[in-house]
Symmetry: C2
Subunit: 394 residues, 2 copies
C-alpha cells in the first residue's frame, strides 16, 4: 500500500490550528491574562429567532412517524431551500435554474471536493494572500500552483493582465483576508480572461452579504457570460451565523463546459455525499424569509459597527489598513516593519488580543495582519482600546 505522496508536501499544520496552539500555550503560561480573540473568522451572535424556530419545528417533525424525513430525496438538496436561494439570487438580478444549485455542508467542503472534477494536470492560479485551503487542497492532489500577487500597489485586487495562463483560477471576493472586493466591471475582465484561456473560475462568495457599496459584485454571475466559465461557492456561515450549524451552497451552471461539470458534480455528490440534515436545511430556508432577512441584517450591522470601532482605533494610532467596509475583516500593515508572526506575538503579549498573521494567507501577506469584526461588541471595543494603547507605546 502506498500513501498519497503529496500530503508530505503540505505544511505541518493548518494555520488556525497553529494559532490555537500558540494561544493555548500563552494562556497556560499566563492564566490571569484576559485574552480577546479577533483571530479566527467565527461569528459570536446566536442564530436568528426565525432560524431556531424553523429548526425546532423540523426536530419535532423528525420525532414523529408521520412527519419523519429519512434520506434527503436528492443529495443536491431539498427543493424548498434551492428555490429560496434561486429567489435570493433573482433579488440581485441573477437568474438560476434549480438544477444549478447544490446544497452543501459548507463552502470549505465544496471548495475541496470540486477539485475531484478536474484533471490532476491542470494548473491552478491562486491569489496571494488568500484563504489557505485553496492551496492545501491542490497541494494534496499534486497540482501545479501559480500565485497571483495581491499587493497594496494593485489595491489587493489583481487583474488578469498580470496573470499567467492557468486552467483554474480562484477568486475570493470580498476577499479573505484583505476585504478587497471586485466590482462587476473588474470581474468582466476575469470572465473574458477565463474564456480566452479555456479556464474555470472558482468564485468564493462566502462574504457576499457584507457587500454594501454600489457597483461591487455579490455574485460573479452578475457578469454576462460568467455562467460559461464560473462555479460559485457560498455559505450560510457568515450571512446567518451557521459556522456551527453547517450549510452552504454551490452553483454549477448548465452553460459551463456544455453542462458536463453540472452533471459530474451531481454524480460526485450522489456518490460521495448524502446531503445536509433536514433540520439544518429548514433552518437555512428560514434565513430567506422576510423576518429572517430582517434579523440577519441587524446582525450584519452589528458586525459592521465592530469593524468601524477597530478601524477608528487604527486611524487614531496611524496604522495603515484596508477592508472592513464590504467585509468583516480589517487588514492592517504591521507597525514598525514587524513581521506578521512577530506582530502576532507582540499583540498577544501587549494587548492580549489574538489576530491572524497575514503571512498565514500567503507570502504577500508578510508584514500584514487580519482582525475580525465577528466578535462581541463590548469585547471588540475593549480590544480596540487595548490595541490603541499598546500601539502608543511603540
Amino acid at each position: 500500500m502506498q500513501l498519497n505522496p503529496h500530503y508530505a508536501e503540505l505544511n505541518e499544520s493548518y494555520l488556525f490550528s497553529t494559532i490555537a496552539h500558540k494561544v493555548a500555550d500563552y494562556q497556560k503560561a499566563h492564566p490571569e491574562a484576559d485574552v480577546i480573540r479577533l483571530g479566527i473568522g467565527d461569528v459570536t451572535l446566536p442564530l436568528a429567532a426565525s432560524v431556531t424556530e424553523a429548526m425546532h419545528k423540523a426536530v419535532e417533525e423528525q420525532g414523529h412517524k408521520g412527519t419523519f424525513h429519512g434520506y434527503i430525496p436528492s443529495e443536491q438538496g431539498y427543493e424548498f431551500l434551492r428555490d429560496a436561494i434561486r429567489r435570493y439570487y433573482a433579488g440581485h438580478g441573477v437568474e438560476l435554474d434549480m438544477s444549478e444549485i447544490f446544497i452543501s455542508d459548507g463552502a470549505k467542503s465544496d471548495l475541496g471536493n470540486l477539485l475531484d472534477l478536474f484533471s490532476q494536470d491542470n494548473t491552478i492560479l491562486v491569489p496571494d494572500p488568500v484563504y489557505p485551503v485553496y492551496v492545501d487542497d491542490n497541494v494534496m492532489a499534486g497540482r501545479k500552483i501559480l500565485y497571483l500577487p495581491a499587493t497594496a500597489e494593485n489595491g489587493f485586487l489583481p487583474m488578469p493582465d498580470e496573470a499567467p495562463h492557468a486552467d483554474i483560477v480562484y477568486i475570493c471576493s470580498p476577499n479573505n483576508p484583505t476585504g478587497a472586493t471586485y466590482s462587476v466591471e473588474q470581474l468582466k475582465a476575469w470572465v473574458a480572461w477565463a474564456k480566452a484561456n479555456d479556464a474555470v473560475i472558482l468564485f468564493d462568495a462566502a462574504y457576499e452579504c457584507f457587500v454594501s457599496e454600489p457597483g461591487l459584485a455579490r455574485s460573479i454571475f452578475e457578469v454576462e457570460g460568467a455562467k460559461e466559465v464560473a462555479i460559485e461557492v457560498c455559505s450560510f456561515s457568515k450571512i446567518a451565523g451557521f459556522t456551527g450549524t453547517r450549510c452552504g451552497y454551490t452553483v454549477v451552471p448548465q452553460a459551463l463546459a456544455g453542462g458536463k461539470l453540472n452533471k459530474m458534480w451531481l454524480r460526485r455528490q450522489t456518490t460521495k455525499f448524502n446531503g445536509v440534515a433536514y433540520v439544518v436545511q429548514r433552518g437555512a430556508e428560514a434565513v430567506f424569509t422576510d423576518e429572517g432577512m430582517k434579523e440577519i441584517q441587524q446582525n450584519l450591522d452589528y458586525y459592521r459597527a465592530n469593524a468601524a470601532v477597530i478601524a477608528a482605533a487604527l486611524d487614531e494610532a496611524g496604522v495603515w489598513y484596508c477592508g472592513g467596509k464590504n467585509s468583516p475583516y480589517i487588514w492592517l500593515r504591521c507597525p514598525n516593519e514587524m513581521g506578521s508572526w512577530e506582530f502576532f506575538d507582540w499583540l498577544l503579549e501587549h494587548a492580549h488580543v489574538v489576530g491572524t498573521p497575514g503571512e498565514g494567507f500567503g507570502p504577500c501577506g508578510k508584514g500584514y495582519f487580519r482582525l475580525t469584526a465577528f466578535g462581541d461588541a463590548e469585547r471588540t471595543k475593549e480590544a480596540a482600546a487595548r490595541i490603541k494603547a499598546a500601539l502608543a507605546t511603540l
Copy 2:
C-alpha cells in the same frame, strides 16, 4: 482546462437513482397502483425521543448568545460525542483512543473521502456484490479494481485464500446487500492477509447494530492486531435512524502505518471539512445514553420483526434467501431463473413492491434481489402477503 477523465468511465447513473426513475415512470403510467418501497435502505421510524429532546435543547442553545456554538472546536468532532463512542466500543471489548475517533456527516462521505489518503497506483479489492459506491469512488480516481466473488458457494463470505494481492480491501459486514456477517475468527484471517500483503482494510460497519448472534464481529477491532491494518467506518443512519440527520464516525487507529494515516486523515478533514453541526452531534450523543439505547433497541426489534415477516413469506413460497438475521436485508434468489432487473419489473408489476436488483451491487448479484426490513410494519406485512400471492402464480 481538462476534466477528470475517469468520470466518463462511470455507469451513467447511480443505482438508486435508476430505481427511483423506474418507479416514478411506473407510477405515472399506473397512478392507481399502491406501491410499497422495500428498495432503498431508508428507515421509517422517527428519531428516538431522547435524540429529539437533545436536539431541541441544542437548537435552543444556538439561539442564545451565552450558549451559542460557532465553529466546531475540532473538525474531528466534539469530545462529548467521541467519548460516547469510545465507551460504546469499550462495551464490546474494543479500547479506542479519543484521537482515533473522527465524527463525520455519514459513512458515504468518509468511504469516498478516505481514498484521498492513498496513492492512485494502489490496487483495490472489492467484494462482489457490495454497496456500489466502493467501486464508483475508485473508478472516479482511476484506480485498478479487482473483484472478490461472494457467492452462495462461499456463503457470501469470501475468505482471503481466494484473494489476489491488493493494497486496499473493502469489507462490509454485516454485508450490504447479502446480510452475510463475518465471525471474529474469520476476520482474523483477513487481518493476517492484510499484514502479509501490506494492505489496508476499509471495514464498513454501518450495520453492526443488527449483529445478534454470538461470535460474529461488530467491529474489526475485536480481532487482535487489527488496529495495525484497518480503518473502520460507521454510521448513525441505521442504529438511530439518522438517514436524514446525517452523522457517522470513522476510526483511524494510531497503530496503522505508524500513525501516518491518522495524521493524514486529521489533515484532510481540517482542510476539506468543517465538522458536523453542533445540534446533530448532541442528538448523536443522546443515542448512547441508557434511555437512548433502550429506545434504539426497540426500533431495531421492530425492523427485525419486519425481516422475520418477509422471511416467512419467502419460506412459504419456497424461495431461497439469506440475511435478515444480523442485518436488515433479505437477499433472495430470483424465482424461475429470472434476471435481477427482470424480477424487479415483475415484482413491481405483480405485487407493486419495489426491491433492489442484486445485479446493481455487482455481477455476482445477477439473479438475486434485495428486500429491506426498514419499512413500516403494516406495510411490510402487506408487501409480504402480496409477494407470496404473486409468487404463487408463477
